[in-house]
Symmetry: C2
Subunit: 213 residues, 2 copies
C-alpha cells in the first residue's frame, strides 16, 4: 500500500513538504507528482490548478494555528493573554512556513478566518468599542504579518550568503545608526523576543482604551 490511490490530501501534504524545504519555487507539479510516485498530469484529477494547490497548502498552514481560548471562554480579564496566545502561535507557525505568506492575495481560507474570529472575539470581550475592535484587529494582524516578514527576510539574509557578518552587502558609509543596529542584532535573544515586545506594547495601548468598568 505504498500509494493509497492518490488523494487530494496527500497531494497538499506533498506540496507543503516541498515548500518547507526549498521554498515556493520548489513546488512544481512535476516535483509534487514525483514525491508521490506518480506522473504530473495525475494531479489535475484532484486539484484543478497549481494556484489552487498552493492555496490549499497555505490553508493547511493556517489550520495549524491554535485558536482555542486557554481558560473559561467568557472570562474578559484574560483577553490580552488570549490574543498573546493566538498571535504567538500564528507567528511561530507562519515563520516555520514563511512561503505561505507569498501565496496568492487572499489565501488562508476558512482556517485563517477562524484565527481572525478568535482575535476579534478576544478584543470584543475586552470591552473595546467596535471601532477599537476594528482598528485593533488590523493592527495586531499587521504586527503578526510584519514581524514574520521581517524575521523571515533576516533569516534568509544570514542563512545563505558567504560572509554572515555584513548582511545584504556591506553597509555604506554614513549610515551610522544602521551600523549600530546591525551590531545589536548580533546579541543573543530569545525566540520571539522582538515580536513579543512589539505585541505587548500594542496590547498595552489597547488595554488603555478599554472603558473603565
Amino acid at each position: 500500500m505504498a500509494r493509497p490511490s492518490l488523494s487530494r490530501d496527500a497531494i497538499v501534504d506533498a506540496a507543503v513538504a516541498l515548500a518547507d524545504d526549498g521554498g515556493m519555487g520548489a513546488v512544481t507539479m512535476r516535483a509534487v507528482a514525483g514525491k508521490l510516485g506518480v506522473e504530473a498530469m495525475s494531479l489535475y484529477h484532484h486539484v484543478g490548478d497549481k494556484r489552487g494547490l498552493l492555496e490549499a497548502a497555505a490553508e493547511r498552514v493556517w489550520a495549524q494555528v491554535d485558536t482555542t481560548s486557554r481558560d473559561s471562554p467568557m472570562d474578559a480579564s484574560d483577553w490580552a493573554d488570549d490574543v498573546r496566545h493566538i498571535a504567538s502561535c500564528a507567528y511561530e507557525t507562519l515563520l516555520a512556513h514563511a512561503w505561505a505568506l507569498d501565496v496568492a492575495s487572499s489565501a488562508g481560507g476558512e482556517p485563517r478566518m477562524r484565527v481572525i474570529e478568535a482575535i476579534l472575539d478576544a478584543l470584543t470581550r475586552a470591552g473595546l468599542s467596535s471601532d477599537d475592535v476594528y482598528e485593533g484587529y488590523h493592527l495586531i494582524d499587521a504586527v503578526i504579518l510584519g514581524y514574520v516578514a521581517q524575521q523571515a527576510s533576516y533569516r534568509g539574509e544570514t542563512g545563505s550568503g558567504a560572509g554572515a557578518s555584513a548582511g545584504a552587502g556591506a553597509i555604506p558609509a554614513g549610515l551610522d545608526r544602521v551600523l549600530e543596529h546591525a551590531a545589536a542584532h548580533q546579541l543573543e535573544r530569545g525566540p520571539q523576543s522582538g515580536f513579543r515586545i512589539g505585541l505587548d506594547l500594542v496590547l498595552d495601548s489597547l488595554a488603555r482604551r478599554v472603558p473603565a468598568a
Copy 2:
C-alpha cells in the same frame, strides 16, 4: 533615438513598469526585452540574472521613499512627525508597488538602508534608550510591512473576484465577528486610515517611554 543602445537603467525601468501592471509574474526576460525592442539574451550583458534584475527593481521602489526630515535636522520634539512622514511615504510607495515586498529576502539595498537610518535617527533624537530604539524600529518596520501586506491582499480580493461582496469565498456560519468585521469594511474610509491609526498608537506608546527631560 528610439533605443539609446540599451542601458541597465532602462532595463530596470521596464521591469518596474511590467511589475506595476501585471505583478511580478509579468516580469519575464522575454517581456522586458520586448518592451525595449530587443531580444531577451541582450539583457544578460547588463543584469547578469533575473534575480538581480528583480532586486534592482525593488531597490528602485525603495529609493522613492522620501527620507528627508521636514524641519531643522536637530529638532528632537518632532521626532514622531518625522517617523510619521517617513513611514507614511514608505507605506504609500510600497502599496503602489506591492510586488516589491515579494522580491527576494533581503531586497531593498542601500535605498532601503537609508529609510532604516532615517527612522533610527528619529527614534534616537527622541531620547529613547538604545534598547527602545532597537525594538521600536522593529515594531515600526513591522507595522509598515504588515499594513502593506494586509491592504494589498484586501485589494486583490475585491479587485478580481466575480462578486465583490463576499471576499475570499463566503464566510462560514458561526464566524459572527468576522461577518461583522467584513461589513465594517464596507464603510467609507480615507486613504491610509487604518495604517495611520495603528502607527499613531505605536508612536504614542513609544512617546510614553521617552525619559522625562
